[in-house]
Symmetry: C2
Subunit: 204 residues, 2 copies
C-alpha cells in the first residue's frame, strides 16, 4: 500500500523555519540555509523552471521525493504563502489538497498541478489525496502545524528529515506538540552528504 | 593539535535528558532510551565493569570516544549526580576536571580516574585538562549548561551527536542558549546503525 510521508528540511537545533516569518518570507530570515542543499540540485531547479543544477546524490533524493508523490496535502497558511512564491507552472505537477475552512472551487494551474480545497478535515483530505495518488504516495507538505496534526492522528508512515548542519536559534519547531510521546521511530535509511544528512524513519 | 570535543546522545527532538530529572535519576524518566545503543556495546559495559556487550560498529565508536580522551571536563551538577551512579572504578580512567565554586582537594579513585575541582573558570579548566591530556583530546562531558558555556566561548572543535530515533517531548535541550546563531557547522562524519545515527561536526 502506498505511503503517507512527510519530507522536511530541519536545522540541527530542530527548526523547519526561522524567526521573522511573513507572507513575503514564509521561511523566516535565516531559514533558507536549511535548504541550501536543495536549491543546488537539478531536480529541484527543474521543478522551478530553472536551468542547471547538480546531479549528485542529493539530487537523486530530491528527484525520488518528487517522483514518489502522487498527491500533496498542505495547510491553508502554506498555500497562501506559497501561492505568492511558486512559479507557474508550480513544482508539484500533481493534485494538491489544501486544508481550509473556506470552500473554494478547484484551481487548475499549468503542468498538472490542481489545488483542491478541503473543508471537512484531515482524514477526508487524506482519503481524497490517496484516491488521486493511485499507486503513488501522499506527501504531507506542511506547514509545521499540518504535519503535527497528521502525526498526532497516527496517519503518517514515514518521515524524511534533511538535517542541515545549521543552528537557527529560534523559529518554528517540527517535533513538538506531539501526543503520545515518548515514542520510538525506526531508522530506515541514512544518507549523508557534505551539505546535509538525509534521515528517513518509519513510524510504528 | 588535540581537539576539544563534545560527545552527547540526543533525541530526534533535541533533548539530551528527559523530564523529571532528580539526583537519583539524572537523565530523567524517559531519557535512557537515548542511550539504548550505548548500554548494549562492549566498550561501554567494560568501562562499567560489566560483562559482554556487542562488538559492532556502535561499539567501535564508543571505544574510539573513550580512547581519544586524555582528560574530561564536567559541571558540578553532573559530578554530583554521577558520583552516586558511577561504579568504582569510574568509567573515565583519566583526569576529570570539575567546574565548581567550592574548593576541594583532588579525589583519586581506582583505575586512573582522579577528580580535580577547578574554581577559576572554564578557560583555566581547559588549560589544565589540555596539559593533563597531552597528545590526546579533551572531552567536554556535560551537562548541558557546561557544554553551552564551552560552545559559546568558542572553545569546541568538534561535536559528536548520537542521534536516537526517539521523541522525548520534554526535557533538557542541548542546542539552545547559544550565542552568535545562526551558525553553520561542517559535517565531518555520519555513521548510521539500527539504533542510532552517529553525527560528527567540525566547528569553524
Amino acid at each position: 500500500m502506498p505511503d503517507v510521508f512527510v519530507d522536511v528540511g530541519m536545522s540541527l537545533d530542530g527548526f523547519i523555519a526561522g524567526r521573522n516569518r511573513s507572507p513575503q518570507n514564509p521561511m523566516g530570515g535565516v531559514a533558507p540555509s536549511i535548504h541550501e542543499w536543495m536549491i543546488k540540485v537539478h531536480a529541484w531547479r527543474d521543478r522551478q523552471s530553472l536551468e542547471g543544477g547538480d546531479r549528485n546524490q542529493d539530487n537523486e533524493i530530491a528527484s525520488e521525493t518528487f517522483e514518489r508523490a502522487g498527491a500533496y496535502i498542505m495547510g491553508r497558511r502554506m498555500f497562501d504563502e506559497g501561492a505568492l512564491a511558486w512559479p507557474d507552472p508550480p513544482p508539484f505537477q500533481k493534485p494538491v489538497f489544501v486544508l481550509t475552512n473556506h470552500p473554494r472551487e478547484p484551481w487548475e494551474r499549468q503542468g498538472g498541478t490542481t489545488f483542491y480545497f478541503v473543508t471537512d478535515g484531515i482524514e477526508r483530505a487524506l482519503k481524497r489525496a490517496q484516491e488521486a495518488a493511485g499507486a503513488r504516495d501522499v506527501h504531507i507538505s506542511g506547514g509545521g502545524h499540518t504535519i503535527q496534526q497528521f502525526l498526532n492522528a497516527g496517519l503518517v508512515d514515514e518521515v524524511q528529515i534533511h538535517l542541515a548542519p545549521v543552528l537557527l536559534g529560534d523559529g518554528l519547531r517540527l517535533l513538538e506538540k506531539l501526543d503520545g510521546m515518548p515514542s520510538h521511530w525506526s531508522t530506515d535509511r541514512v544518507i549523508p552528504s557534505d551539505d546535509v544528512t538525509h534521515l528517513r524513519y518509519r513510524l510504528a
